[in-house]
């Protein structure tokens, strides 16, 4: 299967689209837009999974697609938005590394992914090789996002991108067992993290006690 054949082309295009959205995630400066892009990536992942289900005639992949669509494109973005609104968090992205340098680092990571994957998978079919390179790039960009962004929500977004990349890799390989189980497990993990962040943010907002605040009020009693 090489270029010019529809099954390969569409899979490649969807993978490339996910990679492009990973770059959009790095480029965006507003949290709302980041969440929208994340939802779009979820949609693309669902499409990729469904397409692979169609190509490989593997009906279980449709289930993966459905999970991806439901959870990643709709539920989690909605939850994140709620979080954002309810807690009145910062709407701008706080970066540890500037947008420009993180984009450059992203391109370097993609190059790294390509250089790593291609020699290892030599002898495999082209579809597996290039899609694997794309998926690994998405994973690496997710990690990059987690380490270069300060906001907890953005770190969750990075984690989800990472997980999207893993699932993209999993659905791309024909005959991979336990794809559905894998995606479900990953989903549960992400949900746990989202829940954790929720709890953490709420606690930070309502329950924590600012020690510096106390220090100032110690006064002459101490």
């Amino acid at each position: 299967m090489t270029f010019g054949q529809l099954p390969y082309d569409v899979a490649h295009l969807l993978g490339g689209g996910m990679l492009l959205i990973s770059f959009v995630l790095l480029y965006q400066r507003r949290v709302g837009a980041v969440i929208n892009a994340l939802a779009l990536q979820g949609v693309l992942l669902a499409c990729a999974a469904a397409w692979q289900g169609h190509v490989q005639s593997a009906p279980q992949l449709y289930l993966t697609a459905l999970i991806a669509l439901g959870a990643k494109a709709v539920l989690i973005p909605l939850a994140l938005r709620t979080l954002l609104r309810r807690l009145d968090l910062h709407r701008t992205v706080e970066t540890a590394l500037g947008v420009g340098p993180s984009l450059v680092a992203g391109v370097a990571l993609v190059a790294l992914a390509i250089l790593v994957v291609l020699p290892i998978t030599a002898g495999n079919r082209a579809i597996a090789r290039e899609d694997l390179a794309l998926a690994l790039s998405v994973v690496l960009l997710g990690m990059l996002m987690m380490i270069t962004r300060r906001n907890a929500i953005l770190q969750v977004v990075g984690l989800m991108t990472l997980e999207n990349g893993l699932i993209l890799a999993a659905v791309g390989v024909a005959g991979m067992p336990l794809v559905v189980e894998l995606s479900t497990a990953a989903l549960v993990m992400v949900l746990l993290v989202v829940g954790g962040v929720f709890v953490f943010q709420i606690r930070e907002r309502f329950d924590t006690v600012d020690i510096g605040f106390l220090e100032r009020h110690r006064g002459e009693s101490g």
Partner: protein
């Protein structure tokens, strides 16, 4: 017959471009107005404006030099020659061997230089500010454009626009991630080069943000008409270019006769309509960005184009 058809389509193409350019600007404005809930001026309004301006006598500053008088003509001529090279409804036109993408970039740079020179001619603060910003943006837009051209050149083996269109039309390349990335980069360059939102706002004279309009503050009458007409030509050129490279379907061979040209014309109209709609939608949905964020925007385009080329190196290495 072949030669005759090539020359005839070339002449028709230039006439079409001259006629369509103000209409494209008008349609985009009208679509934007509708999307924002206004009624908007008629799409034909730019024709009336141009006609009005063309009849008016220009007023120049006392110390304006011959540059102010000559620059509008030079920029317009460069834009018109450039647009004559970009195929619209037919392929294989008389100038097709000249239609090189690097030359196209050079002609657009010529138009830009003329505009910037006119902006600096009188020595007012706004002209200099606009000229400096315009040239600075070009320093980021040109590499992004060249890397997109690199992707096309690798796939088609040439930088000739007509041959690139022919290669892509045959469809042997399939859908490629690289092409998609290159298209994104080229879109970003097109937005910057045409001074559209989010890089510049064509509808404002707010000094903190304006680039293109700042250079035109001193021009009036027929000079202003030429500047505006030239800008319209360049917008049409970029949309046509995107259509010719990434949607090369439906063009008629030049020698095939008028009956085959009609579907070509319809296809071109459809493509342009779709691109205008997309442009208007994009402009309505997005806000103008700060001047010093523009390099980031174009730098992202540059990196995408580099990525497109790198992915292509990988796949040519595979094949």
């Amino acid at each position: 017959m072949q030669t005759f058809g090539a020359v005839l389509t070339q002449v028709l193409h230039i006439a079409l471009m001259l006629a369509a350019a103000p209409a494209v600007v008008g349609v985009v404005r009208w679509l934007k107005a509708r999307m924002l809930g206004r009624r908007g001026a008629s799409p034909l309004q730019p024709f009336r404006d141009l006609d009005k301006l063309l009849r008016k006598q220009p007023v120049l500053a006392e110390n304006a030099s011959v540059v102010s008088e000559a620059a509008p003509y030079a920029a317009f001529a460069a834009s018109l020659v450039a647009i004559a090279l970009v195929p619209s409804f037919a392929r294989g036109m008389a100038f097709a061997p000249l239609a090189d993408l690097i030359l196209l970039a050079g002609l657009l740079a010529l138009a830009r230089m003329a505009l910037a020179l006119a902006g600096m001619d009188v020595g007012t603060a706004f002209g200099g500010l606009g000229a400096a910003r315009e040239m600075s943006f070009a320093a980021f837009a040109e590499p992004a454009l060249l890397l997109s051209v690199l992707t096309l050149a690798i796939l088609a083996g040439t930088t000739n626009l007509d041959l690139i269109g022919a290669t892509f039309r045959e469809g042997a390349l399939g859908l490629r991630v690289s092409l998609g990335l290159a298209a994104m980069a080229m879109l970003a360059v097109a937005i910057a080069e045409n001074a559209r939102i989010p890089v510049d706002n064509p509808a404002t004279h707010l000094e903190l943000t304006m680039v293109h309009e700042a250079m035109l503050l001193e021009s009036s009458g027929r000079h202003l008409a030429l500047w505006e007409y030239g800008a319209a030509l360049r917008l049409t050129l970029w949309l046509s270019l995107l259509a010719a490279v990434f949607l090369p379907f439906g063009t008629a061979p030049a020698g095939s006769g008028p009956l085959a040209w009609v579907p070509g014309l319809l296809a071109w109209g459809l493509k342009m309509g779709a691109l205008c709609l997309a442009l208007a939608g994009f402009e309505s949905a997005i806000a103008k960005m700060r001047v010093f964020r523009v390099p980031e925007f174009l730098g992202a385009a540059l990196l995408l184009a580099l990525l497109a080329a790198a992915l292509l190196f990988v796949s040519t290495g595979l094949a």
